[in-house]
């Protein structure tokens, strides 16, 4: 069984570190395993995901957005971290965020594959207004229901390709001002 890699790389990457310094190392399987795991983990480690800050919720702006996120090998499902300010009505509840993606339902309109994320009570300021020390946007996650065959548009996990190669997941998202893709489901065994 070979689950994908996942580690804290901080201070743990050296391009000169050696598995062994011996000129004639013994036929040690542990050395081979170490060499394989180092490469395998580097390839299958999930990528950093961008927190996209933008105004896609103010009615005068482009509120339907298309963009792409890169997903490392073995990514199967994800949440989205969303953000919204108080616009168009400060303190009011905004329209639900709608998410469509290559693996979840594409091209738009995705019908029952549409992911609909209810918006919480909004922040106390309009986009671009006062500093976060005075007022803040709301940040929340899309749903955790792992449903790959929905019969209605619900708040569920975003599906990903689960490929052994990196893939670009294309998105169409409506009504938010922040988006970060959080890969949470991965192929449990890559053998």
């Amino acid at each position: 069984m070979r689950p994908p890699g996942g580690k804290d790389w901080t201070g743990a990457v050296s391009i000169t570190a050696e598995m062994t310094g011996e000129a004639t190392p013994g036929a040690d399987v542990e050395l081979l395993i170490s060499a394989d795991v180092a490469v395998f983990n580097a390839i299958t480690q999930p990528y950093a995901q961008c927190g996209h800050a933008f105004d896609g919720a103010t009615s005068a702006m482009l509120t339907t957005r298309r963009f792409g996120c890169m997903v490392a090998p073995a990514g199967l499902s994800a949440h989205a971290w969303l953000a919204a300010w108080g616009t168009p009505d400060i303190g009011a509840i905004q329209a639900p965020v709608e998410i469509e993606s290559t693996s979840s339902g594409w091209p738009p309109p995705a019908g029952v594959d549409l992911i609909v994320v209810p918006s919480p009570q909004q922040g106390t300021a309009a986009f671009g207004e006062v500093a976060a020390s005075v007022a803040s946007p709301e940040h929340w996650q899309s749903g955790d229901t792992d449903e790959t065959g929905p019969t209605a548009a619900i708040n569920r996990r975003i599906e990903l390709a689960g490929s052994l190669s990196p893939t670009m997941e294309e998105f169409q998202v409506k009504y938010c001002a922040g988006f970060g893709l959080n890969t949470i489901g991965r192929t449990p065994d890559l053998e």
Partner: protein, 335 residues
Amino acid sequence: MAINSNTPLSVVAEATFNALPVADKDPLLTILENANGMYEAHAPALISALYTCEHLITGRSAVFWIPVLPSIDGLDYDFSHWVYGGAGVGAVTITVEEYIAGWGAIHASGALGLAAATWLRHNHTTAISASATILRVTISRAAGSEFSPSAILVRPGTNAPAVGVKASGFVPFDDGMLAVGTSDAGINTEHLNRGPQNAMAILRDRRQCVWSFVQEYSQTDAVYSTYTSPLSDTVPACFGQAVGLIPFAHDPVVTVYAIGVVDGGATTDLIDVYQVGKSGVKLDADGAVQSASLTLEMDASGTIEARAKIGADAACKAGQVTHIAAVIVLWRPGD
């Protein structure tokens, strides 16, 4: 003899190691060609941004300046641009320039068709020079037709490893080094070390985008400035917040790159990029790329959900206006 790459990844079964009596040609060959495959295919986003800009632009171009720190190997990058077309059927053009000592064009799309009320995704593969510090993206549409820039994604393209040591430290593996027979190949220290060292060289060379905010460089055309929210240098305006993720990290060090613009006067420390509730860095809004390191304290640290809520503010001096043209936060494994 050939430099072969495993794309996609070739997974060595766990049982292989259980059964292996001695070090042999395989699985070492697979490990080394997986590392070659990583050079060819490893593609975290270098730039990923959703533009904040005027909706349904007509009669002018939209111009974005985006800080960049590309691979030292001068890799090919895959670009994707998303543009929404409003009324009209005029052609769209997209150009990309890189800044080194001056601006140099690296891509010109030619005329791209776009029907009214539809989307355009324009893809191209373009090398970015190792010493480039800014990408300038210009999007235009024929007079009388509307357009709304939505997003850009830049990630390493397909870069088959060619012979020769790379500036990143990557050394392509040639199968001739293990091709003498199938069971009697010589195994030496280099064979064991090369795969991991190549993988680490790739990780260190390819920055990963953790956070972004981009609007037009021109203060006249930009949507948000401190004028939009006329405050002061003690109560700045917030230009955006979002959650960026670095899976499994605890306290990674990221590098913040920002371009801020003022309409005059002092520029010092007007841009503030911060982790919400934690520390931040202040950068000058002098129209050029400024950078600083920032240590993040991740929420859900050490897990696949490790994340940081990041924001960008700008202050202004009395009687003057500041706007943020771009903030890009980059990270590389090891930092």
